[in-house]
């Protein structure tokens, strides 16, 4: 008679938007909110931790590199396939000489953030608006 609540076969479907100041002290809010969204799908605890860290790394990059973005916009979309998270800032975008680093040399000292995002998520797309910020779209698939 143990009855966990699983009314939707694929979990809850919908879009959640979050806007935080582009400052270090608010990354924890993004992390916890996205974890709460991920928890609405049938993710394992490990998957949820992966998503948390990927979103935190994305926000950290907005804070450290976007130069002049006031806010970070985070959009979570849950679907039958899994979770898509967009992390967008409104800064100047990556300086050309230091674009997303290669993944070849180990151990990865420096450039760990993007490396972790690529390792932890199933797909990762950077869309850079040279003077209007960086738009990162990443997805985590839910195991069926």
């Amino acid at each position: 008679m143990n009855q966990p609540v699983t009314p939707h076969p694929h979990g809850a479907l919908g879009t959640v938007e979050l806007r935080i100041p582009c400052k270090a002290e608010w990354v924890a809010v993004a992390r916890l909110a996205v974890a709460a969204v991920a928890n609405r799908l049938n993710f394992s605890i490990e998957d949820i931790e992966d998503v948390k860290l990927a979103v935190a790394e994305a926000c950290t990059n907005c804070i450290q590199h976007s130069e002049g973005s006031d806010q970070i916009h985070i959009t979570c979309e849950t679907g039958p396939e899994g979770l898509t998270v967009r992390v967008r800032d409104f800064g100047r975008g990556p300086r050309p000489q230091k674009a997303a680093p290669s993944v070849s040399d180990e151990p990865h000292v420096g450039g760990l953030g993007v490396f972790l995002i690529r390792s932890l998520m199933d797909s990762v797309d950077y869309d850079v608006h040279p003077e209007n910020g960086t738009n990162l779209v990443m997805t985590k698939k839910v195991a069926h």
């Binding site: 270090a24 924890a28 490990e46 151990p107 990865h108 953030g113 972790l116």
Partner: protein, 114 residues
């Protein structure tokens, strides 16, 4: 969602730094300062205890790597205590398992320093 830093009374010339909480872009400067202070005072053998750390991101890893680099210049080393599977996984993925000694408890991490 914060970090606590506690530096224990030294045993021999080894200092143990107990961290508890979450190490992220907001809290890692605190960790960096505590480790930096020890190194500034000439303590180059450190055990950093992550047993009660629930979360670490790349800025936290950066602080640990930075500390290791500095003590190595003086022939010292940094050993880590870590049991949390998610955090161990991060050390695995990043290849940092190869540059840090990672132990299951403080005693083992201390012994390995001698």
């Amino acid at each position: 969602m914060d970090i606590k830093v506690n530096v224990r009374e030294p045993k021999g010339d080894t200092y143990v730094v107990d961290l508890s909480g979450e190490i992220d872009v907001y809290t890692s400067p605190k960790v960096k300062d505590a480790i930096g202070e020890l190194i500034d005072k000439g303590h180059y053998n450190l055990v950093i205890n992550l047993e009660n750390v629930r979360y670490i991101d790349s800025t936290g890893l950066g602080v640990l790597i930075g500390g290791l680099k500095r003590v190595r210049e003086h022939g010292g080393t940094v050993n880590l205590v870590c049991t949390n599977p998610q955090i161990k996984k991060i050390f695995d993925i990043t290849g940092l398992v190869k540059i840090f000694g990672i132990y299951d408890d403080v005693d083992a991490a201390m012994k390995a320093l001698v």
